[in-house]
C-alpha cells in the first residue's frame, strides 16, 4: 500500500515537472531584456550583443529552443550558465547542499525552539507566560527578515563576538557554527508560525478524552505530555512544517545575501537579474522536484505519526 503510494506520488511529480518546465521556459523569455545585454552591460555595441545571442542559440524560434532544451534535459544536461560560463548542474551541485543544510538547520532550530515554548504556552494558557511567548513570536513575525538578520548579526556576531559574521565554513562543525545565525533567523520565523499552530493543537489535545483516560489510568504527567499530548499535537504541525520547509528552500534569498552564504537562493536572484536562462530553468526545476519530495516526505511522516491516515 505505502510503496505503491510512494510510487504514485513520484509519478505524479512528472506532470508537475513538465508543466513547471514549460512555464519557466516561457516565463524567462517573457522577461524584458536578453541575456547578452544583461551579461554584457551598457557598454556593448549592438553587433556584439547580437553575436552573443546568436552564439547562445537565442535567435532560433521558441519551439526549436524548447526542443533543444528538452533534448539536453533528457541527457541530464541543464546547459551552461551564461554569465558564469560553467555547467548549471555543477553550480547547483555546489550550492544546493549549502542551502539545504541551512534549511534543515533552520527547521531543526525552529522546531527545537517552538515545541517546548508552544507546550509551555498551551499548558499555561491565558497566563502571562503564554502572553509573553506569544507576544515575542508575534513581534518576530512582524519584522522583515533582513532586519532581524542584521540585528542578530550586529548583536551576537559583531557586538558579542559569539558567532562569525557570514560565510559557512568548511567542515560540518564549521557549518554548524557559521550557519547558526542565519539558521536562527529563519528558524525564528518558522518557530513563530509553528508556535501558533502547535499551541492550539496542544490545547486541543489536552482536552481530548484519551488524555483524560490516560490520567484515569494513573499515568505520570511526563508520560502523558510526551506520549499522549505532544505526539498527537505534532501531527498537525508536521504538515505545516513541510509546507514551510518548501517555502524556506526557495525563500532563503535574503538570508543568504545578508549572511554572505553562496547558496541557491542568491544564485537564483542573480540569475534572474542577469537573465541567465539556463540557471533559472535549472534551479526552478530543481526546486520543483525538491519541494515535491519534501511534500511527499511530509505526507509519509504524517502517515507514520498518525496511523489513521489513509494514503490515497
Amino acid at each position: 500500500m505505502s510503496n505503491s503510494y510512494v510510487l504514485r506520488r513520484l509519478l505524479q511529480i512528472i506532470p508537475t515537472f513538465l508543466a513547471v518546465m514549460l512555464l519557466v521556459f516561457l516565463l524567462v523569455r517573457l522577461l524584458p531584456g536578453d541575456p547578452a545585454s544583461a551579461v554584457l552591460g551598457d557598454r556593448a555595441t549592438a553587433e556584439i550583443v547580437e553575436r552573443t545571442n546568436r552564439d547562445l542559440g537565442l535567435d532560433k524560434p521558441l519551439p526549436v529552443q524548447f526542443l533543444i532544451f528538452v533534448q539536453h534535459l533528457l541527457r541530464g544536461d541543464l546547459g551552461d550558465s551564461i554569465s558564469l560560463k560553467v555547467p548549471v548542474l555543477r553550480l547547483i551541485g555546489e550550492r544546493l547542499p549549502i542551502t539545504l543544510f541551512l534549511t534543515v538547520y533552520a527547521a531543526v532550530l525552529g522546531t527545537l525552539l517552538a515545541v517546548p515554548l508552544a507546550v509551555l504556552a498551551a499548558v499555561r494558557r491565558n497566563t502571562w507566560v503564554d502572553a509573553v511567548i506569544r507576544a515575542v513570536f508575534q513581534v518576530g513575525l512582524s519584522l522583515p527578515v533582513f532586519y532581524v538578520a542584521l540585528q542578530l548579526l550586529t548583536l551576537l556576531g559583531a557586538r558579542l563576538g559569539w558567532f562569525p559574521i557570514g560565510g559557512y565554513g568548511v567542515t560540518f562543525g564549521d557549518h554548524l557554527y557559521h550557519l547558526f545565525l542565519p539558521a536562527l533567523t529563519l528558524g525564528l520565523n518558522l518557530a513563530a508560525v509553528l508556535v501558533r499552530t502547535l499551541r492550539a493543537s496542544v490545547i486541543e489535545v489536552l482536552t481530548a478524552e484519551y488524555v483524560e483516560f490516560a490520567r484515569a489510568k494513573g499515568m505520570a504527567t511526563r508520560v502523558i505530555m510526551l506520549r499522549h499530548v505532544l505526539r498527537n499535537a505534532l501531527i498537525s504541525t508536521v504538515t505545516l512544517l513541510g509546507l514551510n520547509i518548501g517555502a524556506l528552500i526557495g525563500g532563503a534569498v535574503i538570508t543568504e545575501t545578508v549572511f554572505a552564504i553562496p547558496g541557491v537562493g542568491r544564485l537564483m536572484v542573480d540569475a534572474i537579474f542577469g537573465r541567465d536562462y539556463p540557471v533559472i530553468q535549472g534551479l526552478t526545476l530543481t526546486f520543483a522536484v525538491l519541494v515535491s519530495l519534501v511534500f511527499l516526505a511530509t505526507d509519509l511522516l504524517h502517515a507514520r505519526l498518525d496511523p489513521r491516515t489513509e494514503l490515497s
Binding site: M1, S4, Y5, L7, R8, S312
Partner: protein, 347 residues
C-alpha cells in the same frame, strides 16, 4: 402457505402503496490505489444496500430497524435522492423516482421530506428559525409573499414552539426544540411522506417522549406517511404499524408490528429482540443473544449475510441468497429456514 416471490408481487402496486421499492442496490467505492487499478484488481465496494424490496403504505408508519451500518440511513437517503441508486427502482405515485431530475425532482422532494438525526448539525448555525422556514417557503413558492409571515407562525405553533422562537439562532435551543425546528422545516413543504432518520436517538428519554407525541399528533392531523428509522426497538414498536428489519444492506424481515414482536421469524430478528434490555429487573437470559460482530460491508458473506452469526446456518445458507418471501402470517422473511425447498432442514 403461499410463498410468492416479492419480485412478482410488486410489479403491480397495490392501491394502498405510496412508495414501492424494488431491487434497490447501492454501493460505495472504497478508496483504491492506482497500482491496484493498473493490476486490474476489482474495485472494493461497500455493499450498503443489496436488492432491497419494500413497499410503503399510505398513512402508515413503517419502522426500519437494524444494527449500525446495516444501511438504514442509506435507504432513507436514497429514497430522497441524496444518493443515486446503483440499480433497482423506487416508484412513487406512478413516477420512477430514481430517474427524476430538475423540477420534477424538486416537486418529488416537496412531497417526500426527510428529518435528520443530529439536532446539532441539521440546522445551519448561522440562520435564525425564521430564516430557515422563510427560505423553505419562498424557494418553493408555498405561499404568496404576504402570507409567509403568517405561515411561519403557524408552523411554529404546529410543532409547539413559541412565536418568539422565530428570531433565535439554533444554538439558543435545546436538542428537542431543534428537532422540532427540523420538523417544521420539513412540514413547510407540506409533504405526504416524512422520512425520519433516528429522529429522537440523540435526545433524552423524557424529551424523546415529547417529540414522539408531536410526531403522532402531526401524522394524525396531516395524514402523513412516516418512515421511522431507529434502533430503539421499544420506540419502533410503539410507533410503527409495520416494521422492516435490515441486516448488512438487506431487508431480512417485514411484518406487522404485533406479529414481528410476538413471533419474529428471522433468526436475526429473534436475536435483536432478545438482546434489547427490558425494563424488568433480573430478566436477563442466561446466554447472550448473539455472538460475534457485524461482518465488514466490504466483505459481505456469500449467500445469506447473517449466516456467519446464525445459530441455525446450514450449507445452503452459504450458497444461495434467500429471497424475501411472504409467509402465511403475512410476514415477509428472507431466510432459508422458511423456504419450502427440498433438502431444507427445519429448525
Amino acid at each position: 402457505m403461499t410463498a410468492v416471490s416479492s419480485e412478482h408481487s410488486t410489479t403491480t402496486p397495490a392501491p394502498q402503496d405510496v412508495m414501492v421499492i424494488t431491487g434497490l442496490t447501492k454501493t460505495f467505492a472504497a478508496p483504491q490505489s492506482v497500482l491496484a487499478r493498473w493490476r486490474g484488481q476489482p474495485r472494493r465496494v461497500v455493499q450498503a444496500l443489496t436488492d432491497v424490496n419494500l413497499d410503503v403504505r399510505r398513512g402508515e408508519t413503517l419502522g426500519i430497524v437494524g444494527e449500525s451500518g446495516c444501511g438504514k440511513s442509506t435507504l432513507a437517503r436514497t429514497l430522497v435522492r441524496l444518493y443515486d441508486a446503483d440499480s433497482g427502482s423506487v416508484r412513487y405515485g406512478g413516477q420512477e423516482v430514481t430517474a427524476l431530475r430538475g423540477a420534477a425532482l424538486r416537486a418529488y422532494n416537496r412531497s417526500v421530506q426527510m428529518i435528520f438525526q443530529d439536532p446539532y448539525s441539521s440546522l445551519n448555525p448561522r440562520m435564525t428559525v425564521e430564516q430557515v422556514l422563510r427560505e423553505a417557503l419562498t424557494v418553493h413558492h408555498m405561499r404568496p409573499a404576504d402570507q409567509v409571515e403568517g405561515r411561519i407562525a403557524e408552523l411554529l405553533s404546529l410543532v409547539g414552539l413559541p412565536p418568539e422562537a422565530a428570531g433565535r439562532l439554533p444554538h439558543e435551543f435545546s436538542g428537542g426544540q431543534r428537532q422540532r425546528i427540523g420538523i417544521a422545516r420539513a412540514l413547510a413543504l407540506e409533504p405526504e411522506v416524512l422520512i425520519a432518520d433516528e429522529l429522537v436517538s440523540a435526545l433524552d428519554v423524557s424529551v424523546q417522549a415529547q417529540v414522539v407525541n408531536l410526531l403522532l399528533e402531526l401524522q394524525e392531523r396531516l395524514h402523513l406517511t412516516v418512515l421511522f428509522v431507529a434502533h430503539d426497538l421499544r420506540l419502533v414498536r410503539h410507533l410503527s404499524h409495520r416494521v422492516a428489519v435490515m441486516y448488512l444492506g438487506r431487508v431480512v424481515e417485514v411484518a406487522d408490528t404485533q406479529t414481528m414482536f410476538q413471533a419474529p421469524l428471522h433468526p436475526y430478528t429473534q436475536a435483536l429482540l432478545a438482546a434489547a434490555p427490558t425494563l424488568e429487573p433480573g430478566s436477563r437470559t442466561a446466554a447472550p443473544a448473539l455472538s460475534g460482530e457485524l461482518p465488514s460491508p466490504l466483505n459481505v458473506p456469500s449467500g445469506c449475510a447473517f449466516r456467519t452469526r446464525c445459530p441455525h446456518a446450514f450449507a445452503r445458507c452459504a450458497e444461495e441468497r434467500p429471497a424475501l418471501l411472504t409467509q402465511g402470517s403475512g410476514t415477509q422473511v428472507a431466510c432459508h429456514l422458511y423456504d419450502p425447498q427440498p433438502g431444507t432442514a427445519t429448525p
